[in-house]
Each structure stands twice: as structure tokens, then as C-alpha cells.
């Protein structure tokens, strides 16, 4: 990478090819501590930590960078390294800028890219590539041939690992090349608006397609059986997931702690299920 050497001249604590290799390897552990609260957030922190340690000598700045990467994160593992490369270049610019860089934009870039990249990554890797490669493997396995499982893994893993590897460098390079320019020309605001529109729309779509809350309630009136869920579906489909997400969102905004929410939701879920509402 040519860019490495040009940066080295004016700044000694810069990101090298070796650091990016580190991101590539660490990005694979993104799901290690997957949890209900902030999902892949610790994996993101783990992957960024060598770079954060290297770039920030000031304790307070360093701590803030760690806090930044403990925020909610969820994406497809295969497309995550691209975001990490991009974020690495932003962290580098922040470290060089002496406080002129708006660190909120780092979090914004993360949250606005993870939605679309998860959408694309899941559909491509789990929805398309896996179906094709395992379909090929299955045709051998059904004859009892051990080539089947081997073929399935090899065919899937090669494009998957290549995407991870080149994604890291592509993310870093595009960040390095365009971000400074974007800031200087005041285009960052536009990019942020663009990214937040796409990101929020996809999250809205994910709420509609992935949150599975339905009611089994039925009413009998005048001999006809009214199934509540069917009525809801014809008036406002996915109303229950929508209300649930916004309800919990409101509670978080009211500063209800996530622990209370976590256990409260489990208890509420069990009770609503027992009395037959959900």
C-alpha cells in the first residue's frame, strides 16, 4: 500500500499493513460474545483495540474510543471487516486532527453502514452462496460420498475469507482517500444524511421482517370466528412488532436500565404467553 508510506512521513503513529492484517484476523471473532443487549459490540471493540491503543496516547481520548466501540453493533461477519477498515481510517484521522474531527461521525458511519451491509451480506452469503455451495455438497452427500461436506465447506469458505481480507483494505483505503476530502468540502453532512436515511429504512424493514410477534387471540361473535391476527394483518400488518419496538425504545429513552428491560421482557413474555395474548 502506497498510502502507508506517505502517511509515515508526517505522522509516526499511523496504521500499517500489519495493523490491517490484525483487523482482518480479529474481525472473524466478531460473534464470539454475541448477546441480546448490544449484539456484536464487544467483537467490534476487540478488533479495533490494537489500533486504538496505538493511535491514542492520551488516556481520556483512548477511553472515549473504547466507549465508542462498545456501542451496539450487528452486521454479517463477512462484511464487517469493510466497516472496520473504514472506521480505522477515521480513528486515524481523528487522532491526527487535534480535536477538529467530529467523533460522532464515527458512530454514525458504523450504525448507518451495518444495516445495509448486513442486508447485503446475509442475503448474499447465507441466502445465496450457502444455498448454492451446500446444494452442490448435498448432491454428493446424498450418495454417501464424503466429498460432499468437504466441497460445501471449501466452496463457501474461499469467497467468504477473500471478502473479509480485501474488505479490510478496501474499507481503509476508501476512508483514507475520500473522508478528508468530504470533510474539507462540507460533504460529510450530506453523506451522513444519505447514510442515515438508508440505514433507518433498512432497520425499519428488519423490524417488519425479523421481529416475529403475533397474537393467537380469537373472538366468536354471531357464530363467526374472528381471528385477531388476521384482522390486524389486513389493517396494519406487523403492528405488534412495530408497537413492541417503539414501546421498548420509549422505555430506553425514559432511562429504564437494560437489565430491568431484559428480565422484564422475559417475564412479560412468559405471562402474556400463559394467558394466551401472545
Amino acid at each position: 500500500m502506497n498510502t502507508d508510506e506517505t502517511i509515515t512521513e508526517d505522522y509516526q503513529n499511523c496504521i500499517t499493513k500489519k495493523d490491517l492484517h490484525g483487523i482482518f484476523f480479529r474481525s472473524m471473532t466478531i460473534m464470539c460474545s454475541w448477546n441480546y443487549e448490544r449484539q456484536m459490540h464487544m467483537g467490534f471493540m476487540f478488533a479495533m483495540s490494537p489500533i486504538v491503543d496505538k493511535l491514542y496516547k492520551d488516556e481520556e481520548e483512548k477511553k472515549q474510543a473504547y466507549r465508542r466501540h462498545m456501542e451496539f453493533f450487528n452486521c454479517t461477519p463477512q462484511t464487517t471487516s469493510f466497516i472496520m477498515g473504514l472506521v480505522a481510517s477515521m480513528e486515524e484521522q481523528n487522532a491526527k486532527s487535534n480535536g477538529e474531527f467530529n467523533t460522532d461521525s464515527i458512530s454514525m458511519i458504523k450504525t448507518s453502514l451495518m444495516g445495509p451491509l448486513a442486508g447485503i451480506g446475509d442475503s448474499f452469503f447465507q441466502g445465496t452462496l450457502r444455498i448454492i455451495t451446500f446444494g452442490i455438497g448435498l448432491s454428493f452427500a446424498q450418495q454417501g460420498s464424503v466429498i460432499g461436506p468437504i466441497l460445501a465447506v471449501v466452496l463457501f469458505t474461499i469467497p467468504s475469507v477473500l471478502t473479509l481480507y480485501y474488505g479490510t483494505f478496501l474499507g481503509y483505503k476508501s476512508g483514507n482517500k475520500y473522508l478528508t476530502k468530504l470533510y474539507k468540502e462540507g460533504l460529510m453532512e450530506r453523506v451522513m444524511q444519505f447514510a442515515s436515511i438508508v440505514g433507518l429504512a433498512v432497520v425499519g424493514g428488519m423490524v417488519a421482517s425479523m421481529v416475529d410477534i403475533v397474537t393467537p387471540l380469537e373472538f366468536t361473535s354471531g357464530g363467526t370466528n374472528l381471528i385477531l391476527q388476521d384482522m390486524l394483518d389486513s389493517i396494519f400488518p406487523k403492528l405488534l412488532p412495530f408497537i413492541s419496538v417503539l414501546g421498548v425504545y420509549w422505555l430506553i429513552k425514559k432511562n429504564v436500565s437494560t437489565n430491568v428491560l431484559l428480565f422484564g421482557i422475559i417475564i412479560v413474555g412468559l405471562i402474556l404467553s400463559f394467558i394466551g395474548i401472545l
Binding site: N35, V146, L200
Partner: protein, 248 residues
């Protein structure tokens, strides 16, 4: 079933954990591969491959995307393959063993994800105390060891103590509890998305969230299609808010 075989089958479970936890889900933890490995351990490779193919076929659609957890076919396939090979049961019998085990396994996973949510609070605290190494260790060691340990123990105990035991445990849990836990799990997805929205949503941008939601709710459009529509919307809004300046 020898003790060594039971231990090795536990390690096949750890391979499944490594696949999702440490190497970014290369799909080595799919039933096709895990059943093959279980067959290898039990000395009947071909039967393992054949059972793997059947189990893979029924679970093709089981992919964990985001917070939604499908039945845990990793545990299901290892345990079902073992019972089928040891008892000489048919493929169909193997499937009927696999599904309850897989559903039971998913409850374990749900509990684990809640426990790990507690880990992240410990990591938050460690960061506030400048103990960054501890925060990293929680991610890479604590979470991995907890997962591996649970998979190992569950597989080891169920294959070593036998078929009846598993069937009994599955029967003991009343249906109302399993149903209730499924509902609770689905509600927890709502929590995940709500937390995501806290970092993104404002009064100004609520409409974009609503846009994506309504498009998918009413048309069942997939996420790629939605992304393309959202890009067009973003272009239009970009033109509306900045378009004039560009001409100058």
C-alpha cells in the same frame, strides 16, 4: 459408546462453536459437516454423511440472522447422528430426535446470550477503570469458554447417558413453558432493535424508519430490494436539500 467417543463428540460440538465464534461463520457448523464428523468419531463415516445430508436438507432455512434464533441444529445434528448410528435407527427417527434436541438447544443459547449481556456490563466497567485488557479478555476468552463448555457438557452428557434421558427431559418441559420462552425470545428481538434505534433515531428521521417498515410490512419486500428503494429515496432527499447549491 465409549468414554473417549463421548469426549470426542463433545469436541465436535466445540468445532461448531469455533465456526460461529472465532472464524466468522464459515458454515463448518452446519449439520452436513457436524454429522459427518460425528460419523467419523463413531466409525461409520458414510452413515454420518447420509444423516448429515438429511438433516441439512430440513434445516436449509435455519439461519440465524440478527437476533432471531432458529432451532439449534448444531446440537441437534451431533446428538441425533450419534443416537441413530449407535441404535441403528432410521433417518426418520434421527430427525425426530434432532428437532426436540435442537429446540432445547436454542433455549440454552437464549440463556447464554442473556448471560453474555451481563458480561458486557463487566466489560463496560473494566473500560471505565482503564482495564482494557480485561474488556478484551471478556470477549475472546470468557464468552468462548462459556459457549464451548456448555456445548461440550450438553453433548457429552446426552450421548453418554443415553437416548432415554434426552427424550425424558424434552418431555418433562411443559409445552406452555416452551411456548412462553419462544414468545419471550421474540420480544427480546424487539429490545435489540429498540437499542439500535436509540443510536440512530430522532424526530427528524423517524419518517425514514417508518418508510422502511411500511414498505416491508405491506409488500414483504426483501432487504436488498428495500435497500435499493431507500437509496433512491436518499438521492431524492439529497437533491431536495442540497441540489441548488450544487448548480452554483
Amino acid at each position: 459408546m465409549s468414554l473417549i467417543q463421548a469426549i470426542l463428540l463433545g469436541f465436535v460440538g466445540i468445532i461448531a462453536v469455533i465456526d460461529s465464534r472465532l472464524i466468522g461463520r464459515q458454515n463448518i457448523g452446519r449439520p452436513l459437516i457436524l454429522s459427518t464428523l460425528s460419523g467419523l468419531v463413531l466409525g461409520d463415516l458414510q452413515m454420518g454423511v447420509l444423516l448429515g445430508a438429511s438433516l441439512e436438507l430440513i434445516s436449509m432455512g435455519f439461519v440465524s440472522i440478527g437476533a432471531a434464533g432458529p432451532p439449534n441444529m448444531q446440537l441437534g445434528s451431533i446428538i441425533a447422528t450419534t443416537f441413530a448410528i449407535v441404535s441403528g435407527a432410521s433417518t426418520e427417527t434421527a430427525l425426530t430426535i434432532a428437532i426436540p434436541v435442537a429446540i432445547l438447544g436454542e433455549f440454552m443459547s437464549i440463556l447464554m446470550r442473556m448471560v453474555i449481556a451481563q458480561f458486557s456490563h463487566v466489560a463496560d466497567k473494566a473500560i471505565e477503570e482503564n482495564n482494557y485488557k480485561k474488556a478484551r479478555n471478556i470477549h475472546i476468552y470468557w464468552a468462548f469458554i462459556l459457549n464451548s463448555f456448555l456445548y461440550f457438557i450438553l453433548i457429552f452428557l446426552s450421548v453418554y447417558l443415553g437416548n432415554d434421558m434426552v427424550a425424558n427431559i424434552v418431555e418433562i418441559i411443559p409445552e406452555s413453558i416452551t411456548k412462553g420462552l419462544t414468545v419471550a425470545g421474540n420480544l427480546l428481538c424487539a429490545l435489540g432493535f429498540a437499542m439500535l434505534l436509540v443510536t440512530m433515531l430522532s424526530k427528524k428521521t423517524f419518517l425514514y424508519f417508518l418508510f422502511g417498515f411500511l414498505v416491508v410490512a405491506y409488500s414483504q419486500l426483501d432487504l436488498i430490494g428495500l435497500t435499493l428503494f431507500a437509496i433512491i429515496l436518499a438521492f431524492i432527499i439529497d437533491k431536495l436539500s442540497y441540489g441548488k447549491k450544487e448548480i452554483n
